[in-house]
């Protein structure tokens, strides 16, 4: 028994390359692809293929289980690196805002209309009912609106719409409160509940709409309709649009799960889920912006006309951002990597 085992000789020959690949991966995983020099990037695919072939050979000639387990792990790690995404977080973000988000929103047009119908239909219904008989208000709302209910005086209601002298600190407070408001919760819920065939999403949107309608009705009843809409829409265009889009994302998933068509239910849910998630991610951004508008814009600006102007401007910005088709100017390189 003077000669060495074949499997041992094999290992001795290849071991250096395995170790080199392992070191490369370790560096790449801890610091991202930028940690690797061009030379490393050239070496990586070669080392990966080498490791894969080593694994195949080892499986057929070696009974050293440590080598096989090690190679299997090494190859999986390298596989995920070689065939994974290479783009940085910043590049992904850029691609999201420049292409993916608006494209996802555009593709969910019908669902958006449906979500809109749910929320604003319910709002209109609640509004009409309340205007006919203000007792309806109590059916829709508990007394959670900070005293803004039919029993309040007109002066009080008016005073809630305007801020006399706004301090920067108060604005910050209002902004903070907005981030944790009911609405930013609702949006992600509306998305996630879509999985239950979209029905809970519809209910949630209607529920939200009903509260909204009743709220506006209280003010309109006292002749403050024009004023309250300005107060609401300055940030509401962004916020309500976000909720509608989140609901639309929920409907996209719900429809895919309920009616998968030619795809398997799993594949259908996956395709729709990824598309809808882009919309939902955008909603989080929109809600953040709505928080800024509510916290600062609404406290600083007490003129109804300016409020309406801002509301209109945001509406135009969002609509053109989402729905005006653009020429893709995204470089092929970024496309391939992201």
């Amino acid at each position: 028994m003077t000669d060495l085992l074949k499997s041992y000789r094999f290992r001795e020959e290849r071991e250096g390359d395995w170790k080199a690949l392992e070191a490369l991966l370790k560096r790449a995983e801890s610091g991202g692809a930028r940690q690797l020099s061009d030379e490393d990037m050239m070496a990586l695919p070669r080392l990966y293929r080498q490791a894969i072939s080593s694994l195949s050979v080892a499986r057929s000639i070696s009974l050293d289980q440590n080598v096989i387990v090690y190679l299997e792990g090494l190859c999986s790690r390298a596989y995920f690196f070689v065939y994974g995404t290479r783009s940085t977080f910043g590049e992904r973000l850029a691609l999201f805002f420049r292409r993916d988000w608006p494209a996802a929103v555009r593709s969910a047009g019908l669902s958006t209309l449906l979500a809109m119908a749910c929320m604003f239909g319910a709002a209109a219904l609640a509004f009409t009912l309340c205007m006919m008989d203000m007792d309806w208000f109590w059916a829709f709302n508990d007394n959670m609106m900070g005293g803004r209910n039919p029993n309040a005086t007109t002066e009080y209601l008016r005073s809630t719409l305007y801020t006399e002298d706004a301090h920067a600190a108060d604005m910050l407070g209002a902004f903070a409160a907005q981030l944790f408001s009911h609405n930013s919760q609702i949006a992600l819920f509306a998305f996630a509940l879509g999985f239950a065939f979209g029905l809970p999403t519809a209910i949630l949107l209607m529920y939200n709409g009903v509260i909204l309608g009743a709220f506006v009705a209280v003010f309109t009843d006292r002749g403050l309709g024009y004023e309250v809409m300005g107060w609401l829409l300055i940030h509401g265009v962004t916020e309500l649009f976000a909720i509608v889009l989140a609901g639309a994302a929920g409907f996209v998933i719900g429809r895919a799960v309920a009616f998968p068509g030619k795809l398997s239910r799993m594949a259908s849910a996956r395709d729709a889920g990824r598309r809808a998630a882009l919309i939902a991610a955008g909603c989080v951004v929109m809600l953040f912006l709505a928080g800024l508008l509510e916290g600062f814009g609404r406290q600083m600006i007490n003129s109804d006309v300016v409020r309406y102007a801002i509301a209109g401007t945001t509406a135009i910005i969002w609509l053109s951002y989402f729905y005006i088709p653009r020429r893709g100017r995204i470089s092929a390189e970024l496309e391939a990597r992201a």
């Binding site: 003077t2 041992y8 596989y79 994974g84 977080f89 903070a176 509940l193």
Partner: protein, 314 residues
């Protein structure tokens, strides 16, 4: 000595039966563990075996993340509180707003940020040794990461909402019903073979083990030619065991304490009918036998005979 003779030497019928029972249990266990293995065919044509994370592992990773996430938030909140107090509460709204932004970002993007990173794993998953991967073997893209994490609203958020609603504005029965309904989403991973949660299903992802195995020195590398000289095994002696026993022996040589090695050496000597020579070292003996057995089994494997264990009488 014939093969059968080696196998039967010094063993009663009862012992043989017990051994057979143990073998069946071992094979059943292996089969059960294989249920967590998925095959991934790389474009190079090699099959990689991925191990699905169990529900317990995933729950553990989530708990760790939850603790990190809110631990950091609480720490920062405490820091902000101390700072504003030192300033006489003058700028508490600024502190509050800062905190609000911080919590907003942390709550919504903790998982997303880490899973979009190079390791596709949050700190909790890294500690448990897991990673997220696309089920089709492709790249894990941002949209999939968004999808699987926003879905957490109904998996964790919804049951909690109903749970806290029991004492609040929901009636008890309604809240309980809601909680049970929401529990379906929470315990979804228990009810499918890939242990997918709703987020994974919708995103087309799964959570797998991210192996970090070290390459250890080969056991045979420490067996030099002169050490071999004292040991020479006959083919019959080397046919006493199969691949399973070889792997057990490898583990014994790599990590077992001295007493275990002693006992294993004793057993092998008895089984193959090896006369212990004066001042024969147990480790040396085991290493030499391991080398011999591996050479024999590897040779037979090259000829297409995979002797899986000692009961395999090929």
């Amino acid at each position: 000595m014939t093969e059968a003779g080696v196998a039967a030497a010094g063993q009663t019928q009862a012992q043989l039966q017990q051994a057979a029972l143990r073998r069946r249990q071992r094979l059943a266990l292996e089969k059960q563990q294989r249920r967590y293995i998925r095959e991934l065919l790389t474009p190079e044509g090699a099959v990689l075996h991925l191990k699905i994370a169990t529900f317990a592992e995933r729950a553990g990773a989530f708990l760790l993340d939850f603790i990190f996430q809110w631990g950091i938030v609480l720490l920062v909140a405490y820091g902000v509180g101390v700072m504003t107090m030192a300033l006489g509460w003058g700028g508490w709204q600024i502190g509050q707003a800062f905190l609000a932004v911080f919590v907003f970002i942390f709550r919504n993007f903790w998982f997303i940020f880490f899973e979009m990173g190079r390791r596709s794993a949050t700190p909790g998953k890294r500690i448990v040794g897991l990673r997220v991967a696309s089920r089709d073997g492709g790249a894990l893209k941002a949209d999939a990461v968004f999808a699987r994490n926003f879905m957490r609203e109904i998996e964790v958020g919804l049951p909690l909402t109903f749970l806290f609603g029991i004492g609040g504005d929901l009636s008890g029965v309604l809240a309980l019903f809601g909680f049970l309904w929401a529990g379906i989403f929470m315990f979804f991973p228990l009810f499918n073979k890939d242990k997918l949660r709703v987020g994974d299903l919708v995103a087309g992802t799964w959570v797998i083990h991210a192996p970090r195995d070290k390459l250890m020195a080969d056991v045979v590398s420490s067996v030099s030619a002169e050490q071999h000289s004292g040991f020479s095994f006959t083919p019959a002696q080397l046919d006493a065991y199969g691949i399973h026993e070889l792997h057990v022996l490898e583990d014994v040589l790599r990590q077992a304490p001295k007493e275990v090695r002693e006992e294993v050496a004793q057993r092998i000597r008895a089984k193959i009918g090896w006369q212990r020579q004066p001042n024969e070292n147990d480790r040396r003996f085991l290493e030499a036998y391991y080398a011999g057995l591996r050479r024999r089994l590897e040779q037979r494997m090259l000829f297409g005979q995979k002797k899986i264990d000692k009961f395999d009488t090929r």
